[in-house]
Amino acid sequence: MQERTVTISNRLGLHARAAARLVRRASQFNSSVKLLREDTGETADGKSILSVLLLAASRGTSLIIKVEGDDEERALNALAELVEQKFGEELSDGVF
């Protein structure tokens, strides 16, 4: 099992589009993906849009991504990168 703490930094947080991108990416790997909200302790299944949306993680929320399985390292890197790149939403000057 591997884990890493990331901070949601896109303006809108884990809303529909960002959550969809995260779920799609997580689903590409065999490993299980859990998201844990540091502040509230709530967890979500990273492969379920309904579950991820329920976290209501807004900008600034710290999440621990926990990945377990045969491709856990690749999965963790891919997901952390997606969050760090603000889900590819904020190109140019990062206004939106």
């Binding site: 969809a20 849009i49 309904l50 579950s51 329920l54």
Partner: protein, 597 residues
């Protein structure tokens, strides 16, 4: 009348919000299944539960297939921005946890698939309602939409195949959902009547863009109307008559004929100028909400766009807003399509009843709250991004910006300072743009109307927005049925306000335009030019009609008529004067038109 034992009363008149003009007469097709679908609890055996799981999986597959088809149709019919919502629906249908929970319910609780869908959806909806996040709470309607689709498939009686209607219908529903619209066979749909919604609701926008009459905000029309009932929709007056008696029906059929003879046939007068019989030239421009409307503007003879409601393009996507490049693409298309005639882009008029941005809570009194320019100045980065996109797109045409809901000169100065700053930044960063961008002030607030001379000195043009101006001058929310009768565009207070603005614009030598629904009503449009307005902006579909009205009158006579009108005491007296005099002055158009309710 002798009869009385009828169970269904006739001529039931309901008052709502006039969302899209015109009259439709036809049969009701009620779509109440979009709300809570019928479902039953059935206990099943272990063997049967395997059957139920299979039914569920097939239904999920069918629902996904339906949504894929709808998504393509919707993107084609209304543009990409409306199809976004369906992505969320598709992802929910693919959600492994949701599917697992459904199957678990069927297996362990031994229930039928319908019951499992209903109870799992209800649990999920409850969970979302607990979350303190308005955006998430709104997702419950998406969940409900998805659950309803599944239940409809499971229960087999797929009410109607909406894409293959065999007769003309008037849709009666709680609300018109984007996914429903995509399924409809538009050739067969004569109009909409809905329980909920205001002028800016989805139902209203869609009806206007399709050019069919609609009345929204009717509260309980779905309870009173049954499929197959006869119905009349008057989208101009904002009322609906259920099960009309013969005399009422005859009157509306006559009114529809009158309107139809004036309306439509876009090509008929597009080449003719909007000119009065004594040679005064009026400019008729288009109000645009949906991007797809831009292509059809030449059909109606619009001279550019007088009001581009920029926020409408993105309403289905809030709280997300599009980035600079995406906005640039849209504004560039607008600039190119309107060419020399140009287009006025009203900067985001968000807040109020048009949804709020994330991070701003609902207000007690949104009409008087943080909205429009107030919000743009508060959330400055959004304003700046929009300005950059406009300045870049301006290379391809003649764009202007209009600032909504200005109430003090400091707001105009602050906005101008930001615009100048953005231009300078772009110049320094060598971003290609056209800095020739006239700035207009929307006159919607009484304070701005009274201070118009001050604004005229510092703005490049003034644009009267009658919808809000009437609301604020008369202190009436027309979506509120208890006071809607007090929303009176021809109230002498409104006429005097507009006459004042015309005088100021003339003495200050500043351009004055007017947009709003008044401009789309032939009688009121003539009243406006009689007050001295020379440029009107209105829904494209009404331009040919208003042009015919203008071409039938003599400006000098209308001017003196309006001088008399301003001395009258009430809206009623003004209406009576116009209804009496205009048919005399311009029988060619108004003799057939008059006798309005």
């Amino acid at each position: 009348m002798a009869s009385s034992s009828v169970t269904r009363s006739r001529d039931v008149k309901l008052k709502g919000v006039p969302a899209s003009p015109g009259i439709a007469v036809g049969r009701v097709l009620r779509l109440d299944e979009r709300g809570r679908h019928q479902f039953y609890y059935i206990g099943v055996s272990a063997a049967q539960s395997r059957m139920e799981v299979r039914r569920l999986r097939e239904a999920l597959q069918e629902a996904r297939a339906q949504l894929q088809v709808i998504k393509v149709r919707l993107a084609k019919q209304l543009g990409y921005e409306h199809s976004f919502i369906l992505d969320a629906h598709l992802l929910m249908l693919e959600d492994a946890r949701l599917i697992e929970e459904l199957e678990h319910d069927i297996r362990t609780r031994r229930v039928n698939a319908e019951w499992a869908v209903r109870s799992v959806a209800d649990r999920a909806i409850d969970a979302y309602k607990q979350v303190n996040d308005s955006y998430l709470r709104e997702r419950t309607s998406d969940l409900e939409d998805v659950a309803t689709r599944l239940l409809t498939i499971l229960s087999g009686h797929d009410k109607f195949d909406l894409s293959k209607l065999d007769q003309d219908v008037i849709i009666v529903a709680k609300n018109i959902w984007p996914s429903t619209v995509a399924e409809l066979d538009f050739k067969r749909v004569l109009g909409f009547a809905t329980n909920s919604g205001g002028l800016t609701s989805h139902s209203a926008i869609i009806a206007r863009s399709l050019g069919i009459p609609a009345v929204v905000g009717l509260h309980d029309v779905t309870r009173l109307a049954k499929t197959g009932n006869s119905i009349v929709i008057d989208g101009s007056e904002g009322c609906v008559i259920l099960r009309p008696t013969k005399p009422v029906l005859t009157a509306y059929l006559a009114k529809r004929k009158r309107e139809a003879s004036h309306r439509a046939r876009p090509a008929a007068n597009t080449a003719q100028p909007a000119e009065t019989t004594d040679g005064a030239r009026i400019t008729l421009r288009a109000n645009v909400e949906l991007h797809t409307e831009i292509e059809s503007l030449p059909l109606f003879g619009a001279e550019g766009v007088g009001l581009y409601r920029s926020e409408f393009l993105f309403l289905t996507r809030l709280p997300e807003l599009p980035g600079e490049d995406e906005q640039y693409d849209l504004y560039r298309k607008l600039a190119e399509a309107t060419g020399e005639a140009g287009a006025n882009i009203r900067v985001f008029d968000l807040g109020g009843d048009k949804l709020t941005l994330e991070g701003f809570e609902a207000e007690q009194n949104p009409a008087l709250g943080l909205r429009a320019i107030r919000l743009s100045l508060r959330v400055e980065h959004i304003f700046r991004t929009q300005l950059r996109a406009i300045l870049r797109a301006n290379l391809h045409g003649r764009l202007r910006v209009v600032l909504p809901l200005i109430s003090t000169i400091t707001e105009l100065r602050e906005a101008k300072r930001i615009i100048a700053d953005v231009k300078q930044e772009m110049a320094e960063a060598r971003v290609e743009h056209n800095a020739e961008l006239p700035i207009g002030v929307m006159i919607e607030v009484p304070a701005a109307a009274l201070m118009a001379d001050v604004f005229a000195r510092e703005a490049d043009f003034l644009s009267v927005g009658t919808n809000d101006l009437i609301q604020y001058v008369l202190a009436v929310d027309r979506a509120n049925e208890n006071v809607a009768h007090l929303y009176q565009p021809l109230h002498p207070a409104i006429l005097r306000t507009i006459a004042h603005l015309v005088r100021v614009a003339e003495s200050q030598q500043v351009a004055l335009e007017l947009c709003g629904e008044m401009a789309a009503d032939p009688l009121q449009a003539i009243a406006l030019i009689g007050l001295g307005i020379r440029t009107l902006s209105l829904v494209p579909g009404s331009i040919p009609l208003v042009k015919n009205a203008i071409r039938s009158v003599e400006l000098q006579r209308v001017r003196s008529l309006m001088k008399d009108a301003m001395k009258l005491a009430s809206s009623r007296e003004v209406e009576e004067l116009l209804a009496r005099e205009l048919p005399r002055q311009a029988p060619r158009f108004f003799a057939a038109w008059s006798s309005r309710a």
